[in-house]
Amino acid sequence: MKIAICIKQVPGSNELTMDQEKGILQREDGRVKMNPYDLVAIETALQIKEKYKEVVITSFSMGPKRAREVILSSYAMGVDQGVLITDPKFIGSDVYATALTLSKGISLNEEFDIVICGRQTTDGDTGQVGPAIAEHLGIPHIYGVIAIDKIEEKHIFLSQQIENKKISLRVKMPCVLVISKEAYIPRLPSLKLKLEAKKKKIKIMSFEDLNDSDIRKFGLEGSPTQVEKIYFPNKSKKETLLSGNANVIVDAIIERLKGEKLI
């Protein structure tokens, strides 16, 4: 069985803060890491590999050259092969273009039975790439997978959570699975695999390797959505200290809550 996983390198743990006085954004540091939601996707694939015979897992990532680090991290967890899709021509891709690029990379590699995606990323946060890849590949997707129950020759049995319902499904492969964060706790790399990871090859795919000469379908130009501008939101205002009459205080609290649409 062949499994593909989509993983992404995202900015490090610290969020952007804003220097209120100067009105500029400051990133806390330049660290990067694997999107934590993708760790669960990797773990899901590894669980399948441990349970069934002859499972080969390939991780795919689209990003700058530095993103090879996440492919290596996936090797350290136990992934077999990895593909880095990288090219300046892909810069500026929105979800549609990203999903298109990834799906081309995936379909040009193997006939995968399952493609697993994390639920969202900590930077973009939109959670759309999984379903979009499925659409590009022309296969169904299951959103909100919380467990893989069983895999048979042509079908996969899994549990999905939609709102507060747990639904058991039987899905014909190939399909895309969008994994919930709660599905599994990702394992940490073992020393052995980590040392071996460095010695493994990573396949690199650039625009030329995608067998599609129409550059306008990729990158910024291939992105239906465009960011018009970025601005700073009105943050919660800090009011001066209140004290004294309890009734006045209570009114102020209620006004505040109403203002934030919490009542």
């Binding site: 900015p11 803060t17 500029i24 954004l25 639904i167 960011v227 970025i230 505040r256």
Partner: protein, 401 residues
């Protein structure tokens, strides 16, 4: 190909853009500003440059005849025989958006034995409600629901499609948008129709510290999802409109690769990290019995109760409710701390909450340094009054309905 362009004449090397870049893609090399290959063209740097030295070139291609697309389509979500509130919120927003235009609002509802349910939609100023009722639609199955959506869009040609940011919405929206080779902006917090009748989609980015304003200039429909409780519900009209349209889908398109075997209600145990509103009890509570006040408050505001370490140590609160360095980190929409002085360990666990209201008897409490609304007062005086007021408001709201 699009890229970030740097005007060296205008650039003064102030490095503001370097600090702001979320990807660390800007650098000064040999006294010139240079952009690295990990630039994602997000545009944050443009906003920081006071010298207009940066710009991103974008290409316009007018391949689409936008005149052929008009009106707004809202996807209706229902569960256990009830239409979900998010649907009414989307209808409400859609109706506001079309004011002053010739656009109309339409609804799409898919399910099995939903005729009764769908009648409710005739009490809203929706031009037409497209109902696809078939046993194949008893449960949400992405592939055939997508087929339905495509069928409806192909007939209606809506300029805009609005879907709720629910589990189903997050699944169906990107699939349908992609099938139309169009763009989707998820979790919008605001939607505006501009002079060009383009949908301006606004959502938080980079951890919520900036807002991104997004448009879909050259593709139709324009898709957007909005989470529940963001927009205001539409007003229900007194007499129903005759706007129900029953639709059918080609049998071939009802074949799904997904089979539902069984369904079960889940006991979702929400932790304090999932709560939208938290009421926190601290040292200021003199007796365990007095904690009823925070429980009551939490219930009235639909929130959850949490605790500072002090009360957990005393055994008055369970560990799973502890906020702080040796407990949980939370980021609710609103947090009301009652009788919490605010140790550094505590504040580390909640200081990024959107709105912080802190009530404590000591006006020098450390928590006031991070609170948006600081209140120096006695929780034994304030909380009972607050509870009473909230109950009054509740009563009024219930009477209205």
């Amino acid at each position: 190909m699009s890229e970030l362009q740097i005007n060296d004449e205008k650039c003064v090397l102030c490095r503001a853009c370097i600090s702001a870049c979320p990807f660390g893609a800007l650098e000064v090399v040999d006294k010139k500003l240079v952009v690295e290959d990990n630039c994602s063209l997000c545009g944050v740097c443009l906003n920081t440059c006071q010298f207009n030295a940066l710009c991103i070139e974008k290409q316009e291609n007018g391949l689409l005849d936008k005149n052929k697309w008009s009106d707004i389509l809202v996807f209706v979500e229902h569960n256990e025989g009830k239409i979900q509130p998010v649907t009414y919120e989307l209808i409400g927003k859609a109706l506001k958006l079309i004011e002053g235009t010739s656009y109309k609002v339409y609804c799409l509802i898919v399910g099995y034995k939903i005729t009764e349910l769908a009648k409710e939609l005739s009490y809203y100023n929706v031009e037409k409600n497209f109902i696809y009722d078939h046993k194949a639609f008893k449960n949400y199955r992405e592939d055939i629901f997508c087929n339905v959506f495509q069928d409806c869009i192909n007939v209606l040609m809506p300029a805009i499609v609005l879907i709720g940011g629910t589990d189903v919405g997050k699944s169906i929206a990107p699939a349908v948008a992609t099938s139309f080779h169009s763009g989707l902006t998820a979790d919008c917090t605001e939607l505006i129709l501009n002079e060009k009748l383009e949908l301006v989609q606004i959502r938080p980015a980079f951890g919520g510290n900036v807002m991104a304003q997004i448009v879909t200039p050259n593709h139709r429909p324009q898709f957007a999802t909005v989470r529940p409780s963001i927009m205001e519900e539409a007003n229900r009209i007194k007499s129903p409109r005759n706007n129900i349209v029953n639709c059918k889908l080609d049998e071939k398109k009802l074949v799904s690769q997904i089979e539902v075997l069984k369904e079960k209600q889940m006991e979702t145990k929400e932790g304090i990290q999932d709560a939208k509103i938290l009421i926190v009890a601290g040292q200021g509570f003199k007796r365990k019995e007095d904690l009823w006040m925070v429980e009551e408050l939490a219930m009235l505001l639909n929130g959850q109760v949490a605790s500072s370490r002090a009360l957990v140590e005393k055994g008055w609160m369970p560990y799973e409710r502890q906020i702080g360095l040796s407990g949980k980190t939370v980021k609710p929409e609103a947090i009301i701390t009652c009788g919490v002085s605010g140790s550094v360990q505590f504040m580390t666990g909640m200081k990024t909450s959107k709105t912080i209201i802190a009530i404590n008897i000591d006006s020098d409490s450390p928590i006031f340094s991070i609170a948006h609304q600081s209140i120096a007062g006695d929780i034994y005086e304030i909380l009972p009054k607050l509870i009473h007021q909230l109950k009054e408001i509740d009563k009024l709201a219930n009477n209205k309905n």
